[in-house]
């Protein structure tokens, strides 16, 4: 338009002026747009960091002679145990997660469609429930071992029993088989959108399918694998229920003991922060190691690969292998819960309060999921359009909430939340002469805050991985055509990362629903969720009464899994039509 003002001039000159003017305006609006995005991202990060900072304040207090004791008797073993646990779980979730994802994307066989979503099912089972179920199933006095003894001709568990499940090995196996879906989910999304051309080229260059997996697909999927594995590992590291049940003395168990049994909250905060710094360093090293690599493929003509059809024995083998993690991670605990819940139902019926607990659980989890997704999108997008040190740091900081054990995080949150609550309450008393109670704690908003602060890592991480599949050339093209930063986001990134968004939503929702420590500490009066109900029963040893609530948690957790599977399938259909 501006070019028109230029009087009679050669065509070329006119063109050049138009272009440079456009570039100038686009440059300007880019800066402004970018600055808005990054300011919002900084605000979000501050909100997430508030509880961590309040932990730092707590840790500042005197703890007497805690550290000599810890160093002498606790930390060496706790560190070693945590490390072994993380390595074991890390290897297991990577193997099962990526293997499963490759199986259902690179091959086609009868049952693949079911396996496609069934592999996600263990997500619906909280680790503490799985641990409890297997402890009971495999108890030396339980049915499995009694049966084995009868077959082998032994009479007493003193003569013969299986290796103790309450051990490091048991804990690694259990967490591995329950947590692998984090890797499966992120990696599968990656494989589904991975450019077929790359894989086909490697095939024509003589690689076998297995080698394509190891040498091309896997390295290409590294950002997704890293996101998945770090989510799984942080779950494993921060887990208190399963480790405690299975008698593994991790750092988190020490934090807990220091706080609860020795009433030393500052000491607990110190251990937690030390652990957090370790996690942050590890994550920074991983980032640094792949700083120069790029994972996006050129936008044009990117097709997804077509799966190879398997027949006969091979198909059966594929299906059988794929079902193993589903059976161990889901079918086992779920059928245990069903049989327990049925027995309980026959024995004592079901309490009416469970309906309100279901409503509370779904409502609060859904709200938190919505907020976490929106904020995660903002963080991921702002770091994409401002690829600088600042946004990198913001992106890393915003996930800190996930690297702190939930219990500790909840304590950290109490400070900032009640500060606002008390301020509002006291102002109300001064202004209106009456108290309105605690606004954030009393309304349940504190729970949403806690979930978001804790699980933002999941949504931001998944979105970032999703965005990394979109070639920057698309952004550049759109910007050159005059789109604003927000416009590019709306018209390109959002539609193109729908499946990543759905995956993130599922993970966050299910995690909110399973979350226990923050829910317990920060909920309003008279407000029970399925998880707190379950805990209330389990804490007094009446596990059987908890089985119905546990089963409902699992069932509700399955619904989004199925929803997500459908999103994935549409994506695949679109992909094969060549529209991606």
């Amino acid at each position: 338009m501006k070019g028109r003002c230029v009087h009679a001039s050669p065509f070329l000159l006119k063109e050049m002026i138009v272009l440079s003017a456009a570039r100038l305006t686009s440059f300007f609006s880019f800066r402004v747009g970018g600055r808005v995005w990054i300011t919002i991202a900084a605000l979000i990060t501050a909100l997430v960091l508030a509880p961590v900072l309040s932990l730092v304040a707590i840790a500042w207090n005197d703890t007497g002679n805690l550290w000599p004791h810890l160093i002498a008797y606790v930390l060496p073993e706790a560190m070693a145990d945590s490390l072994i646990l993380l390595c074991g779980v890390g290897v297991l979730v990577t193997a099962i997660g990526t293997g499963g994802a490759w199986l259902v994307t690179a091959y086609d066989f009868p049952g693949r469609r079911i396996l496609d979503w069934a592999l996600l099912l263990p997500l619906a089972v909280p680790t503490y429930i799985a641990a409890y179920a297997y402890l009971d199933i495999l108890h030396p006095v339980g049915s499995v071992q009694s049966f084995l003894r009868a077959v082998l001709g032994y009479h007493s568990p003193r003569d013969f029993r299986l290796p103790e499940i309450r051990s490091m090995g048991g804990c690694i196996l259990l967490l591995g088989f329950v947590l692998y879906p984090y890797v499966y989910l992120t990696t599968r999304a990656m494989f589904l959108t991975q450019a077929a051309s790359l894989l086909e080229v490697s095939r024509t260059l003589g690689l076998r399918r297995a080698s394509v997996f190891l040498r091309v697909a896997l390295p290409l999927a590294r950002p997704a694998i890293v996101v998945g594995v770090s989510l799984a590992l942080m779950e494993a590291l921060n887990d208190i229920g399963a480790s405690e049940f299975l008698g593994v003395q991790t750092l988190t168990v020490s934090i807990y003991t220091t706080w609860v049994t020795r009433s030393d909250l500052p000491g607990a905060a110190q251990i937690a922060l030390a652990m957090l710094s370790l996690v942050v360093i590890l994550m920074a090293v991983e980032r640094w190691a792949r700083r120069k690599q790029r994972y996006a493929t050129a936008a044009q003509r990117s097709r997804v690969m077509s799966p190879q059809r398997l027949k006969g024995g091979k198909a059966l083998l594929a299906l059988g292998t794929g079902l193993v993690p589903v059976i161990i991670g889901f079918v086992g605990p779920a059928s245990y819960l069903i049989s327990e819940a049925v027995a309980r139902f026959r024995f004592a019926g079901v309490s009416v309060t469970i309906l309100s607990e279901i409503r509370n659980t779904v409502m609060i989890s859904a709200t938190a999921t919505g907020v976490a997704l929106a904020l995660g999108l903002i963080i991921a997008y702002s770091s994409r359009i401002n690829p600088g040190i600042l946004s990198g740091i913001l992106g890393r900081l915003s996930v800190m909430g996930y690297a702190v054990p939930g219990t500790v995080m909840a304590i950290g949150l109490l400070g900032p939340v009640t500060m606002i609550d008390r301020f509002v309450d006291q102002s109300a008393i001064q202004l209106f002469g009456r108290s309105f109670g605690l606004v954030i704690l009393g309304s349940g908003a504190a729970l949403v805050y806690a979930y978001v602060a804790r699980f933002l890592a999941i949504s931001a991480g998944s979105m970032e991985a999703g965005f990394s599949r979109i070639s920057p050339s698309l952004d550049q093209a759109a910007r050159t055509l005059g789109a604003s930063a927000s416009g590019v986001f709306r018209k390109i990134h959002l539609p193109m990362s729908k499946s990543a968004l759905a995956a993130a939503g599922l993970l966050v929702f299910v995690d909110c629903m399973k979350e226990l420590p923050a829910t317990l500490l920060l909920r309003p009066l008279n407000f029970e969720t399925l998880a707190t109900h379950l805990y209330g029963e389990a804490a007094r040893g009446t596990y059987e009464e908890a089985s119905i609530a546990a089963l409902i948690i699992v069932v509700i957790g399955i619904l989004p899994v199925i929803l997500l599977a459908n999103v994935g399938r549409q994506k695949r259909a679109i992909g094969s039509a060549g529209n991606v």
């Binding site: 006095v141 609860v260 909840a410 029963e537």
Partner: protein, 341 residues
């Protein structure tokens, strides 16, 4: 006539308004508890029924003190309810409670079972007792015997870091000193049939399964399992055990409490005191005995027959208010001997 009736209706309306607003203010009470809802709800329901006061509850576990402290003067908490002497003492030390001067509470609750200044009150008792295989020839037992090598590979117990065990170890320290306690704990650890862990009911289950011969657990679980409220499986477990009331060599059975305190900033203090007074009434105390199988704190209210058959409870001569100072040491000892490893 007309004026009179108008006047009267205003008067009635005013009285009603004052009356109802008074009721609205007093008709609710906020309870923060670390006791599981299943255990206290029957008591609260019965209170609401008799008094018309609605009790709002929140079940918190380990963060009760932290939450009340953070809420500060805006806290809606009226009553704080928890188990374990140590925790009650801590609530007072943290400045979260306030003294109560109630003739009823003083008259009913024996001296060692309430704070001298009236900052907390015990409401029920439980013993840390011995579960033993039914056919075992065992008539009496001392806690000291747990480290006797003759029980090697025959003892089951939960985590050494669980408050119930920390309190037991603390009592041992109070009786014998730290060095002896460490020896004892090392010996007990060496006697374990399985890794320390699980819950108190698991002790009964493992004895039934032949995994161990004896174990230490709380008294009320026996009642809960025997009464059938835990389901048919647990009735089977508990049928394989008998219960002994162990004692320290120079003392009695280790006894802990559940109790309550009035929150420092309680908005409904008068109502809160009434709830505590109700909880030591004959009705409530027999509910504690019958529904939860705890020992009533009130003299004259009988324990449930399922519990009474263990024999007469003779609480230790060093009260837990004294031994509670050793809790931290006890927890450190459990780390030191690697009790849970």
């Amino acid at each position: 006539m007309n004026r009179l009736s108008a006047f009267r209706s205003i008067l009635i309306g005013g009285v009603l308004a004052i009356g109802t607003s008074g009721v609205a203010m007093a008709a609710e009470l906020n309870l923060y508890t670390t006791r599981e809802p299943g255990l206290i709800q029957p008591l609260l329901d019965s209170y609401t029924k008799s008094s018309g006061v609605k009790v709002n509850t929140i079940f918190l576990k380990d963060g009760l003190a932290e939450r009340v402290k953070a809420e500060g003067s805006s806290s809606p908490a009226d009553v704080l309810m928890t188990v374990d002497f140590g925790k009650l003492i801590e609530l007072k030390e943290e400045g979260l409670t306030q003294p109560v001067d109630s003739a009823v509470l003083k008259a009913v609750i024996p001296e060692g079972l309430r704070d001298p200044a009236g900052d907390w009150f015990a409401l029920s008792l439980r013993g840390r007792v011995l579960y033993a295989a039914k056919d075992l020839d065992l008539k009496s037992f001392n806690y000291e015997d747990l480290s006797d090598p003759k029980w090697k590979g025959k003892v089951c117990i939960r985590s050494g870091q669980h408050p119930y065990n920390t309190a037991l170890i603390a009592s041992y320290i109070a009786h014998h000193g730290e060095a002896e306690a460490e020896k004892w704990l090392t010996g007990l650890k060496a006697n374990l049939a399985r890794k320390a862990g699980g819950g108190d009911r698991d002790v009964a289950r493992d004895i039934m399964g032949g995994l161990c011969d004896i174990g230490v657990a709380n008294s009320y679980y026996v009642g809960l399992m025997r009464s059938g409220s835990g389901g048919p499986d647990q009735e089977k477990w508990v049928s394989s055990i008998k219960v002994l009331l162990p004692a320290f060599e120079n003392g009695g059975t280790q006894v802990n409490v559940s109790g309550a305190a009035i929150a420092k900033h309680a908005p409904n203090k008068a109502e809160a005191v009434k709830l505590l007074e109700y909880l030591v009434s004959d009705d409530a105390q027999s509910l504690y005995a019958k529904a939860n199988f705890e020992y009533p704190v009130k003299v004259g209210v009988a324990a449930d027959p399922l519990i009474a058959e263990f024999g007469t409870l003779k609480p230790d001569n060093i009260p837990l208010t004294k031994s509670a100072v050793f809790r931290k040491k006890a927890s450190e000892l459990a780390d030191k001997v690697g009790f849970d490893k």
